[in-house]
Amino acid sequence: MKSLAELQAIKDKMKSKVVLREGTNEIRVVVGMATCGIAAGARPVLNAFVEAVNEAGLAGEVTVSQTGCIGICQYEPVVEVFEAGNKKTTYVKMTPEKAKTVVEKHLKGGKVVAEFTIESK
Protein backbone atom coordinates (compact mmCIF):
# COMPACT_ATOMS: atom_id res chain seq x y z
CA MET A 1 0.00 0.00 0.00
CA LYS A 2 1.34 3.44 -0.99
CA SER A 3 1.63 5.60 2.06
CA LEU A 4 2.38 9.20 2.83
CA ALA A 5 5.44 7.91 4.68
CA GLU A 6 6.90 7.00 1.28
CA LEU A 7 6.40 10.58 0.24
CA GLN A 8 8.32 11.66 3.31
CA ALA A 9 11.22 9.47 2.15
CA ILE A 10 11.07 11.03 -1.33
CA LYS A 11 11.16 14.48 0.25
CA ASP A 12 14.26 13.66 2.28
CA LYS A 13 15.98 12.22 -0.79
CA MET A 14 15.05 15.17 -3.04
CA LYS A 15 16.03 17.89 -0.60
CA SER A 16 19.69 17.11 -1.09
CA LYS A 17 19.27 17.11 -4.88
CA VAL A 18 17.26 20.31 -5.30
CA VAL A 19 20.21 22.64 -5.08
CA LEU A 20 22.22 20.68 -7.64
CA ARG A 21 19.50 20.96 -10.27
CA GLU A 22 19.05 24.70 -10.21
CA GLY A 23 20.42 26.65 -13.14
CA THR A 24 21.60 23.67 -15.11
CA ASN A 25 18.67 23.49 -17.54
CA GLU A 26 19.87 24.21 -21.03
CA ILE A 27 17.21 22.64 -23.27
CA ARG A 28 13.48 23.28 -23.08
CA VAL A 29 10.96 20.89 -24.60
CA VAL A 30 7.53 22.52 -24.90
CA VAL A 31 4.44 20.49 -25.79
CA GLY A 32 1.26 22.20 -27.09
CA MET A 33 -1.56 21.29 -24.71
CA ALA A 34 -4.55 23.34 -25.89
CA THR A 35 -7.76 21.63 -27.03
CA CYS A 36 -6.27 20.96 -30.47
CA GLY A 37 -3.11 19.37 -29.04
CA ILE A 38 -4.96 17.30 -26.42
CA ALA A 39 -7.45 15.99 -29.01
CA ALA A 40 -4.59 15.03 -31.34
CA GLY A 41 -2.75 13.05 -28.63
CA ALA A 42 -0.46 15.50 -26.81
CA ARG A 43 -0.95 13.94 -23.37
CA PRO A 44 0.86 10.64 -24.14
CA VAL A 45 3.49 12.59 -26.11
CA LEU A 46 4.22 14.82 -23.11
CA ASN A 47 4.38 11.80 -20.80
CA ALA A 48 6.70 9.97 -23.20
CA PHE A 49 9.09 12.96 -23.18
CA VAL A 50 9.10 13.12 -19.38
CA GLU A 51 9.76 9.38 -19.08
CA ALA A 52 12.42 9.24 -21.80
CA VAL A 53 14.26 12.33 -20.51
CA ASN A 54 14.45 10.78 -17.05
CA GLU A 55 15.46 7.37 -18.36
CA ALA A 56 18.21 8.96 -20.43
CA GLY A 57 19.50 10.75 -17.33
CA LEU A 58 18.90 14.16 -18.91
CA ALA A 59 16.66 15.59 -16.17
CA GLY A 60 19.39 18.04 -15.15
CA GLU A 61 19.77 19.58 -18.61
CA VAL A 62 16.29 19.25 -20.10
CA THR A 63 12.99 20.65 -18.85
CA VAL A 64 9.72 19.43 -20.30
CA SER A 65 6.79 21.82 -20.08
CA GLN A 66 3.50 22.64 -21.78
CA THR A 67 2.00 25.59 -23.59
CA GLY A 68 -1.25 26.59 -25.30
CA CYS A 69 -2.16 26.66 -28.99
CA ILE A 70 0.57 28.09 -31.22
CA GLY A 71 -1.72 28.32 -34.25
CA ILE A 72 -0.78 25.32 -36.36
CA CYS A 73 -3.53 23.00 -35.12
CA GLN A 74 -3.42 20.80 -38.23
CA TYR A 75 0.12 19.73 -37.24
CA GLU A 76 -0.69 18.78 -33.63
CA PRO A 77 0.72 17.29 -31.49
CA VAL A 78 3.38 19.99 -31.87
CA VAL A 79 6.57 19.97 -29.82
CA GLU A 80 9.10 22.80 -29.79
CA VAL A 81 12.67 22.29 -28.63
CA PHE A 82 14.52 25.42 -27.51
CA GLU A 83 18.27 25.31 -27.15
CA ALA A 84 21.05 27.74 -26.29
CA GLY A 85 21.62 30.49 -28.85
CA ASN A 86 17.91 30.88 -29.70
CA LYS A 87 17.91 27.66 -31.67
CA LYS A 88 14.35 26.37 -32.09
CA THR A 89 13.19 23.12 -33.64
CA THR A 90 9.48 22.49 -34.31
CA TYR A 91 8.44 18.85 -34.39
CA VAL A 92 4.97 18.10 -35.75
CA LYS A 93 2.45 15.25 -35.73
CA MET A 94 4.29 13.71 -32.82
CA THR A 95 3.68 10.33 -31.21
CA PRO A 96 5.13 8.74 -28.06
CA GLU A 97 7.44 6.65 -30.29
CA LYS A 98 8.69 9.73 -32.14
CA ALA A 99 9.20 11.41 -28.75
CA LYS A 100 11.56 8.62 -27.68
CA THR A 101 13.49 9.01 -30.93
CA VAL A 102 13.81 12.78 -30.43
CA VAL A 103 15.13 12.29 -26.88
CA GLU A 104 17.66 9.72 -28.06
CA LYS A 105 18.89 11.42 -31.26
CA HIS A 106 18.33 15.13 -30.63
CA LEU A 107 18.37 15.78 -26.89
CA LYS A 108 21.01 13.17 -26.13
CA GLY A 109 22.79 12.92 -29.48
CA GLY A 110 22.58 16.59 -30.49
CA LYS A 111 21.22 15.84 -33.96
CA VAL A 112 17.84 17.22 -35.10
CA VAL A 113 15.49 14.48 -36.38
CA ALA A 114 14.79 16.23 -39.68
CA GLU A 115 12.00 13.93 -40.90
CA PHE A 116 9.78 14.86 -37.90
CA THR A 117 10.17 18.63 -38.26
CA ILE A 118 7.66 21.05 -39.76
CA GLU A 119 10.11 21.83 -42.57
CA SER A 120 9.82 18.24 -43.83
CA LYS A 121 6.02 18.49 -44.27
Binding site: E6, L7, K11, M14, M33, A34, C36, P44, S65, G68
Partner: protein
Protein backbone atom coordinates in the same frame (compact mmCIF):
# COMPACT_ATOMS: atom_id res chain seq x y z
CA UNK B 1 -11.82 13.50 -27.88
CA UNK B 2 -11.18 9.78 -27.59
CA UNK B 3 -11.56 9.74 -23.80
CA UNK B 4 -13.54 11.89 -21.37
CA UNK B 5 -10.37 12.18 -19.30
CA UNK B 6 -8.94 14.28 -22.16
CA UNK B 7 -11.93 16.63 -21.91
CA UNK B 8 -11.26 16.84 -18.17
CA UNK B 9 -7.64 17.80 -18.88
CA UNK B 10 -8.74 20.41 -21.41
CA UNK B 11 -11.45 22.00 -19.24
CA UNK B 12 -9.22 22.05 -16.16
CA UNK B 13 -6.57 23.93 -18.15
CA UNK B 14 -9.20 26.72 -18.44
CA UNK B 15 -9.46 26.79 -14.64
CA UNK B 16 -5.71 27.18 -14.28
CA UNK B 17 -5.67 29.94 -16.91
CA UNK B 18 -8.48 31.68 -14.99
CA UNK B 19 -6.07 32.00 -12.08
CA UNK B 20 -7.58 29.29 -9.88
CA UNK B 21 -5.53 28.33 -6.84
CA UNK B 22 -7.75 25.31 -6.18
CA UNK B 23 -9.64 23.22 -8.72
CA UNK B 24 -11.93 20.43 -7.56
CA UNK B 25 -12.43 17.60 -10.03
CA UNK B 26 -15.22 15.25 -8.91
CA UNK B 27 -16.49 12.18 -10.66
CA UNK B 28 -19.63 10.49 -9.38
CA UNK B 29 -20.67 7.21 -10.90
CA UNK B 30 -23.71 4.96 -10.62
CA UNK B 31 -24.72 1.95 -12.71
CA UNK B 32 -26.29 4.19 -15.32
CA UNK B 33 -24.85 7.69 -14.85
CA UNK B 34 -21.48 9.40 -14.81
CA UNK B 35 -21.22 12.98 -13.58
CA UNK B 36 -18.04 15.00 -14.02
CA UNK B 37 -17.71 18.28 -12.17
CA UNK B 38 -14.82 20.74 -12.50
CA UNK B 39 -15.10 23.58 -10.03
CA UNK B 40 -12.51 26.31 -9.58
CA UNK B 41 -11.92 29.49 -7.58
CA UNK B 42 -10.59 31.41 -10.58
CA UNK B 43 -11.66 34.79 -11.96
CA UNK B 44 -15.04 33.56 -13.23
CA UNK B 45 -16.92 34.78 -16.31
CA UNK B 46 -19.45 37.54 -16.85
CA UNK B 47 -22.98 36.54 -17.82
CA UNK B 48 -22.34 37.71 -21.36
CA UNK B 49 -19.29 35.48 -21.82
CA UNK B 50 -20.98 32.61 -20.02
CA UNK B 51 -23.82 32.65 -22.54
CA UNK B 52 -21.42 32.32 -25.46
CA UNK B 53 -18.86 29.77 -24.25
CA UNK B 54 -20.83 26.80 -25.54
CA UNK B 55 -20.91 28.33 -29.04
CA UNK B 56 -17.89 27.03 -30.96
CA UNK B 57 -18.00 29.97 -33.38
CA UNK B 58 -17.89 32.65 -30.74
CA UNK B 59 -14.23 33.52 -30.83
CA UNK B 60 -13.47 37.08 -29.87
CA UNK B 61 -10.04 37.58 -28.45
CA UNK B 62 -11.24 37.89 -24.85
CA UNK B 63 -12.80 34.44 -24.89
CA UNK B 64 -10.35 32.84 -27.28
CA UNK B 65 -8.89 30.57 -24.62
CA UNK B 66 -12.25 28.85 -24.25
CA UNK B 67 -12.43 27.88 -27.92
CA UNK B 68 -13.69 24.41 -28.70
CA UNK B 69 -13.11 22.87 -25.29
CA UNK B 70 -16.53 23.49 -23.75
CA UNK B 71 -18.50 22.73 -26.97
CA UNK B 72 -16.71 19.38 -27.32
CA UNK B 73 -17.39 18.45 -23.70
CA UNK B 74 -21.05 19.50 -24.08
CA UNK B 75 -21.38 17.44 -27.25
CA UNK B 76 -19.90 14.37 -25.54
CA UNK B 77 -22.52 14.67 -22.77
CA UNK B 78 -25.46 15.41 -25.06
CA UNK B 79 -24.61 12.49 -27.36
CA UNK B 80 -25.50 10.18 -24.46
CA UNK B 81 -28.77 12.01 -23.69
CA UNK B 82 -27.06 13.97 -20.94
CA UNK B 83 -26.29 17.66 -20.53
CA UNK B 84 -23.72 20.25 -19.51
CA UNK B 85 -24.18 23.02 -16.96
CA UNK B 86 -21.90 25.96 -16.29
CA UNK B 87 -22.18 28.31 -13.36
CA UNK B 88 -19.80 31.19 -12.96
CA UNK B 89 -19.31 34.16 -10.66
CA UNK B 90 -16.78 36.93 -11.26
CA UNK B 91 -14.86 38.63 -8.46
CA UNK B 92 -17.10 41.69 -8.86
CA UNK B 93 -20.24 39.60 -8.49
CA UNK B 94 -18.93 37.56 -5.60
CA UNK B 95 -15.64 38.56 -3.93
CA UNK B 96 -15.69 35.49 -1.68
CA UNK B 97 -17.13 32.68 -3.80
CA UNK B 98 -15.99 33.58 -7.32
CA UNK B 99 -15.05 30.94 -9.87
CA UNK B 100 -16.53 28.59 -12.43
CA UNK B 101 -18.20 25.20 -12.08
CA UNK B 102 -18.65 23.00 -15.15
CA UNK B 103 -20.78 19.89 -14.64
CA UNK B 104 -21.42 17.28 -17.32
CA UNK B 105 -23.98 14.48 -17.00
CA UNK B 106 -23.55 11.31 -19.03
CA UNK B 107 -25.67 8.20 -19.51
CA UNK B 108 -23.16 5.37 -19.45
CA UNK B 109 -25.28 2.78 -21.21
CA UNK B 110 -25.83 4.91 -24.30
CA UNK B 111 -24.02 3.59 -27.38
CA UNK B 112 -22.35 6.99 -27.89
CA UNK B 113 -20.92 7.16 -24.38
CA UNK B 114 -17.21 7.98 -24.52
CA UNK B 115 -15.22 5.99 -21.94
CA UNK B 116 -13.54 7.92 -19.12
CA UNK B 117 -10.14 6.54 -20.12
CA UNK B 118 -6.87 7.27 -18.35
CA UNK B 119 -7.90 9.79 -15.70
CA UNK B 120 -4.73 9.07 -13.69
CA UNK B 121 -2.66 10.34 -16.62
CA UNK B 122 -4.81 13.47 -16.81
CA UNK B 123 -4.21 14.18 -13.11
CA UNK B 124 -0.46 13.62 -13.24
CA UNK B 125 -0.25 15.78 -16.38
CA UNK B 126 -2.17 18.59 -14.63
CA UNK B 127 -0.08 18.42 -11.46
CA UNK B 128 3.20 18.26 -13.37
CA UNK B 129 2.17 21.17 -15.60
CA UNK B 130 0.87 23.35 -12.77
CA UNK B 131 2.78 22.41 -9.65
CA UNK B 132 2.05 25.79 -8.04
CA UNK B 133 -1.73 25.31 -7.87
CA UNK B 134 -3.85 22.77 -6.00
CA UNK B 135 -6.17 20.04 -7.18
CA UNK B 136 -8.70 18.09 -5.18
CA UNK B 137 -9.78 14.93 -6.98
CA UNK B 138 -12.51 12.52 -5.99
CA UNK B 139 -14.09 9.62 -7.86
CA UNK B 140 -17.04 8.00 -6.12
CA UNK B 141 -18.57 4.73 -7.21
CA UNK B 142 -20.77 2.30 -5.26
CA UNK B 143 -19.92 3.93 -1.93
CA UNK B 144 -16.18 3.67 -2.56
CA UNK B 145 -13.96 6.61 -3.32
CA UNK B 146 -10.62 7.47 -4.91
CA UNK B 147 -9.20 10.74 -3.59
CA UNK B 148 -6.18 12.95 -4.01
CA UNK B 149 -5.62 16.34 -2.40
CA UNK B 150 -2.44 18.08 -3.50
CA UNK B 151 -2.68 20.40 -0.47
CA UNK B 152 -1.99 17.40 1.77
CA UNK B 153 0.95 16.33 -0.37
CA UNK B 154 2.29 19.89 -0.48
CA UNK B 155 2.22 20.12 3.32
CA UNK B 156 4.11 16.84 3.53
CA UNK B 157 6.69 17.74 0.88
CA UNK B 158 7.43 21.24 2.24
CA UNK B 159 9.75 22.90 -0.30
CA UNK B 160 10.12 19.90 -2.61
CA UNK B 161 7.98 20.78 -5.66
CA UNK B 162 5.03 18.63 -6.70
CA UNK B 163 6.37 18.35 -10.25
CA UNK B 164 9.46 16.44 -9.10
CA UNK B 165 9.67 13.27 -11.21
CA UNK B 166 9.71 10.95 -8.19
CA UNK B 167 6.71 12.72 -6.64
CA UNK B 168 4.68 12.43 -9.85
CA UNK B 169 5.53 8.72 -10.05
CA UNK B 170 4.37 8.31 -6.45
CA UNK B 171 1.09 10.12 -7.18
CA UNK B 172 0.56 7.87 -10.20
CA UNK B 173 1.10 4.74 -8.12
CA UNK B 174 -1.03 6.09 -5.26
CA UNK B 175 -3.98 6.71 -7.59
CA UNK B 176 -3.60 3.45 -9.51
CA UNK B 177 -3.58 1.51 -6.27
CA UNK B 178 -6.81 3.21 -5.18
CA UNK B 179 -8.36 2.44 -8.58
CA UNK B 180 -7.51 -1.25 -8.16
CA UNK B 181 -9.93 -1.21 -5.22
CA UNK B 182 -12.69 0.87 -6.81
Amino acid sequence: MKELSLNVLDITENSVKAGATLTEISITETDTELIISIKDNGCGMSEEILMSVTDPFYTTRTTRRVGLGIPLFKLAAEMTGGRLEIKSRTKDMDPEGHGTAVTAYFFKNHIDFTPLGDIVSTLTTLIRGHAEVDFLFTHEKDGRCVTLDTRELRAMLEDVPLDTYEVIKWIEGYLEEQYDNL
